[in-house]
Subunit: 430 residues, 2 copies
């Protein structure tokens, strides 16, 4: 058996400690699959005294994470510090420049600086691997980059944030409002104290940007992703969705369109019979649609120490075996220059919920606004009637251009009889 | 860009023609992902005159498939002839001995001769790739061999035969009997004229043997797979399954047990809420359960020219990039020697349907037979009563050892009042 692959881990939080534990517990399996042992030689973290449930005896401790790049005893750097900037980025850059492969779980860094890091990796001919950055242990990066590599991918769709999926699932199952379920999720540890990164869709957008770059063979373009979170999804909308045969999911969606690539993260209504509609709780799922393979869906746990460590160590095994791939699936000069398409060009059907004062002429005004912008209706629900009080009116449109829908919506929102900001949820047939 | 990778295709049926078409239609995408063009240089098939919808101009035509191994213009051999023996095996062996990578879609050959072929590939240090052998375009081989490689896999389960899944789905949806749905499937081209390879579970067993070898890191052991097909599944059983909250699926199942690995293919009752129960029609799915990653499920089209070609070309791209893995995930000497466990040692719950003459004492006799072999009942359904005629009695057992169940069943089948061979279907919580 060849010499061990020596790993330096930067960051000993849940994921870093999980990687160390996995490399120890499954050492024999990993050595067999990797063709040689993979061992931790050095670590870096903030608090040296903290008990992380792992044995650090004999490991070099670096106060400064970036020092791992220069440690001659380290062959590969595992970056699990997190954050797009700061020590994570500095370490990744230093390691690549030093000719050391980098394995990272850092979606923010890959989404925001992935193009520059890929250039650095290519220039120094060093692997930069990031399976753990998207959908935890589900090997979706490898599937898009290698397994489905022969296909022209036309569309990807994913449940990419377990916190949001947990909240939406719990809202549906118990009929509770967002704020109540969020508080419960925080109590259970499924949501952070500051949940905005998750519930505002930013985390899912980071992951979608990464998947879209791989799927469409183009440089990562996070700033072009349209992002909406789930704060405005109400129990009422979830109930109406059920009535209409849909479930509400926060999806990341990217599509090859005539004039470029659209990428967006927002709550969607998906038909309840579609496989992705059935992926509940903290589970993640990614659907990829290729011209030869058709639709392939992968699902599993999208977060947590175990799944994330599984992905990190899979990358380490690839490196130990000498299996490498360009960061975005092709060398920089072979990447596509397809432009990003703005959300205004999106064509789709919409669910629109208004709270209106129930008086004559309101529906006529709403219908006129839609008609004047070329939006045609598929169906309408107006059930509860209560003179003087606001009642929900739900409209489902046929396919229409988002820009037209936005103009119609602005006019509708300005009507006197419309009491709250209307809720608009895109309908997606995934 | 480097020199093209020159491919020789043996077999120009649906899959071979699909590979040629994919390499042409997506040439630019494939070259970008592979780092160099992948081009067909030579082919071999039986009938030179047949129109396959692909342009064979400029390609060398070999009457004898094995000649592809010796053709100096061929870098890689794609074997899509099929069959465990004959020209397929002769070509694979000749190519490996000649130091040429082999890409095959041949599950029978890999299941039956996979250990010997792996030894040959290892001796000559040549890749032998077979993503297309299992579950069409779903990258399940790559997932088990690389994506989940850090895990101790405890269990795999899969819907591995689209024909059987189509038949079982149609039986459930329309309440028809097996023979009628099979005839319809044959008419639609979803089942072969001689369907026994599919409906008797052999095709699924080939695929399960391959998956189990990869999942558990052991040499492929097809002859140790317990195989039952779906011919004995009746509309009555499917209706009872629905009533009990289950769906009937033909599953391939392999599990790490205390004394070795069990591998079996048979109809199963799976809880209708489990994700695999929802995979209908010609779709395939594979669930893998790892100690760190948890459960991961992959689903998609398991057959057809497009999906299979997608998998073959993914393997070619790996070879073009120089990405290689040992055939069974580890070098031969690092493979596990865990023995195979016979079906008699299986522990599980059972659905048992008897057709009994409705007269006093029958149920007491059946219950006594079960009790005497230590099998305890969870529930019983006996609905239709019709003096003198056979009526169905359905028994659901608690977990019990298969050997005990088999002994109890033999005694029950011998009872005078039991009119037909009892139907036994294992209950699996996948």
């Amino acid at each position: 058996m060849s010499a061990p692959l020596a790993v330096g881990i930067a960051g000993l939080g849940t994921v870093g400690a999980g990687v160390a534990r996995l490399l120890t517990e499954n050492a024999a399996i990993i050595a067999a699959r990797a063709g040689r042992p993979i061992v931790v030689r050095a670590v870096s973290a903030r608090d040296r005294g903290r008990d992380r449930g792992i044995d650090l005896t004999g490991l070099t401790w670096h106060e400064d994470a970036v020092a791992l790049a220069a440690d001659p005893a380290v062959d590969v750097v595992v970056e699990v510090i997190g954050g797009a900037e700061g020590p994570a980025r500095a370490l990744a850059e230093a390691a690549l420049i030093a000719g050391k492969p980098v394995v990272t779980a850092n979606k923010a860094m890959m989404a925001v600086h992935g193009a520059a890091l890929a250039a650095l990796a290519e220039r120094h001919a060093v692997p930069l691997a990031f399976e753990a950055a998207v959908a935890g242990g589900i090997p979706v990066i490898k599937a898009l980059r290698e397994g489905l590599a022969a296909n022209r991918i036309d569309r990807i769709a994913g449940i990419l944030n377990g916190t949001c999926n947990y909240i939406l699932t719990a809202m549906r199952e118990h009929g509770h409002e967002f704020a109540d379920v969020l508080a419960e999720a925080q109590r259970l540890g499924y949501a952070e104290a500051d949940p905005s990164f998750d519930v505002d869709g930013i985390d899912a957008a980071h992951k979608l940007a990464i998947l879209a770059a791989l799927a469409f063979g183009r440089p990562v373009a996070f700033s072009a992703v349209h992002v909406e979170g789930i704060r405005h999804v109400s129990a009422t909308d979830i109930a109406f969705a059920g009535e209409l045969g849909y479930r509400i999911k926060l999806l990341g969606l990217a599509r090859r369109m005539e004039h470029g690539i659209s990428a967006r993260v927002h709550p969607c209504m998906v038909p309840e019979a579609s496989p992705i509609a059935r992926v509940d709780g903290v589970y993640n799922a990614v659907v990829a649609e290729g011209d030869f393979v058709g639709r392939v869906m992968l699902q599993g746990r999208g977060a947590g120490a175990g799944p994330t460590a599984s992905a990190v160590v899979a990358d380490l095994i690839d490196i130990a075996r000498g299996r490498a791939a360009p960061v975005w699936g092709a060398d920089a000069r072979a990447l596509s220059d397809a432009p990003s398409v703005a959300i205004g060009a999106h064509i789709g059907a919409y669910y629109l919920r208004l709270m209106v004062v129930d008086r004559p002429g309101v529906i006529a005004d709403v219908a006129a606004a839609l008609r004047d912008h070329g939006v045609s209706l598929e169906s309408m629900i107006q059930r509860a009637r209560s003179a003087g009080e606001a009642v929900p009116v739900v409209l489902v449109t046929h396919e229409t251009e988002e820009a037209a829908m936005a103009r119609a919506l602005a006019r509708i929102a300005a009507l006197d009889a419309v009491m709250e900001t209307p809720t608009l949820i895109r309908i997606e047939h995934v």
